[in-house]
Amino acid sequence: MEMAVFLGAGFVALVSAILVFTQKNPVASVVFLVVTLAAQAVLFLLLNAPFVAALQIIVYAGAIMVLFLFVVMLLNLGRDEFGPEKRKFIRPLAVVFALVLVLEVLAIFKTGLLDQARLTYHLDFTGDFGTVAGVGLLLFTRYLYPFEITSVLLLAALLGTVILAKKLPGRKGEL
């Protein structure tokens, strides 16, 4: 049963991830990205991490992707923006990056880095891993400083956007 759910969710996640970049229409790409993220939430559920799964849906699928969709819709990105001539220099780059990624993944599995990381960080996917209590405890103890610094960073980004969007008296009509 668990295996069936895992295979199903994994299949959906992979196929829609591939569809994200094969689509010509950017709005369709965004929709498939949402599907991928939702399927990942199911995978988190299988890891006994209901809280992470819920956050995945609320934050990524529900909030961030809506903003993506807004930007794509409002800029009205057509098919022309993704024409063949703009892809020319991207293709060799993509091949290089893909190779690096594959080598990295192989290295991690071959050298047992994964097990080592699991030991150093005491990652064990049982107990309160991925529950509200587990995540909350980690956020306010071990990861307190990164957590707080991230919030300051987000605040700075927020203020920056407000200032950029605000019409200053000196630059009337520029935007």
Partner: protein, 326 residues
């Protein structure tokens, strides 16, 4: 294992049927009540008191011509009603609507699933409902639809925040994210969270009205400006799916309000399921009452109210509750 699966499937079927029927009859109730409040009669022709009107409407909607706009993005145009429809129903999976009962010699819990982060599940799934609205507006390739969907999406995102904040107070008091535990924490009428969280309750109520695009926050379908908003270009069953989704969302929000603030299915004398239905119907009545009473907000008023009034009040409410719990 098999027995459990069969019980689960029966429960899902019963709940689905109940909500679909409820949606149809809430439309009837709304037409009747609004008519009475405006000194009219409302539907009277089909059946006694117009009670068969929903059936007649359903037949009409099924047999209407299916129109797909020429310039529409066909694929997304067809998927959008589903994206609005499905999340509206999935949320009921975690709402407890009664105590454990013994049916045919088996103990049956009157809820589909006790998910330990149930409230987050509901918030997550309802936030997915935005996609149906946004994609419907965009793929119709019509100005009215697009404007309606942009309005509605901006409104839903803004009020989702105060909705989330209003719920946090209850979560702090109950100490759990599971809706079953939250109901159990409100054993008697004096323990209902509405008494300890009056600010949270009204915050929730207002945000919920805005989330479901109901009057006085029904700007996405302001007929004087936008024809019918994001589903202007839809016809027949696809149009019906948007309407049903809207009413199902109303029922969800009412059921959640019942669970979070009014002690869920608990109450004296009457059986639990009846209490649950009575409380949900109270909120539905409130919806209709408000619709018949209040005029629509202007768009800038809506945004200012959400961000400058509800958000700060919600934050202060969370802070005060947290201090009290400590």
């Amino acid at each position: 294992m098999l027995e459990q699966a069969i019980i689960a499937i029966i429960k899902v079927a019963v709940v689905l049927f109940a909500i679909l029927t409820a949606c149809a009859y809430i439309v009837w109730l709304e037409r009747k009540l609004v008519a009475r409040m405006q000194v009219r009669l409302g539907p009277t022709r089909v059946g006694p008191f117009g009670l068969l009107q929903p059936l007649a409407d359903a037949i009409k909607l099924f047999t209407k011509e299916e129109i797909i706009v020429e310039q529409a993005n066909k694929w997304l145009y067809l998927v959008a009603p589903l994206l609005a429809f499905i999340p509206a129903f999935i949320t009921f999976a975690v709402i407890p609507f009664g105590d454990t009962v013994t049916l045919f010699g088996r103990e049956v819990e009157l809820l589909i699933s006790d998910f330990n982060v149930g409230i987050l599940f509901i918030l997550g799934v309802t936030s997915l409902g935005v996609y149906g609205v946004v994609l419907a507006g965009w793929s119709s390739n019509s100005k009215y639809s697009l404007l309606g969907s942009l309005r509605s999406a901006a409104q839903m995102i803004s009020y989702e925040i105060s909705l989330g904040l209003s719920v946090i107070g209850v979560l702090l008091l109950a100490g759990s994210l599971s809706l079953v535990d939250i109901v159990k924490a409100q054993g008697s009428v004096s323990e209902w969270f509405i008494w300890k969280q009056p600010v949270g309750f009204f915050l929730y109520l207002i945000s919920a009205f805005a989330e479901t695009n109901r009057a006085p926050f029904d700007l996405p379908e302001a007929e004087t400006e936008l024809v019918a908003g994001y589903f202007t270009e839809y016809s027949s069953m696809k149009f019906a799916m948007f309407t049903i989704a809207e009413y199902a969302n109303m029922v969800t929000v009412a059921a959640l309000a019942t669970t979070l603030f009014l002690g869920g299915w608990q109450g004296p004398f009457l059986p639990p399921v009846v209490w649950f239905l009575v409380k949900v119907m109270f909120f539905i009545f409130l919806y209709i009452w408000v619709r018949a009473t209040l005029p629509r907000f202007r768009y800038d008023q809506l945004m200012r109210f959400g961000w400058l009034v509800l958000l700060p009040v919600g934050l202060v409410n969370v802070l005060v509750t947290a201090l009290a719990v400590l």
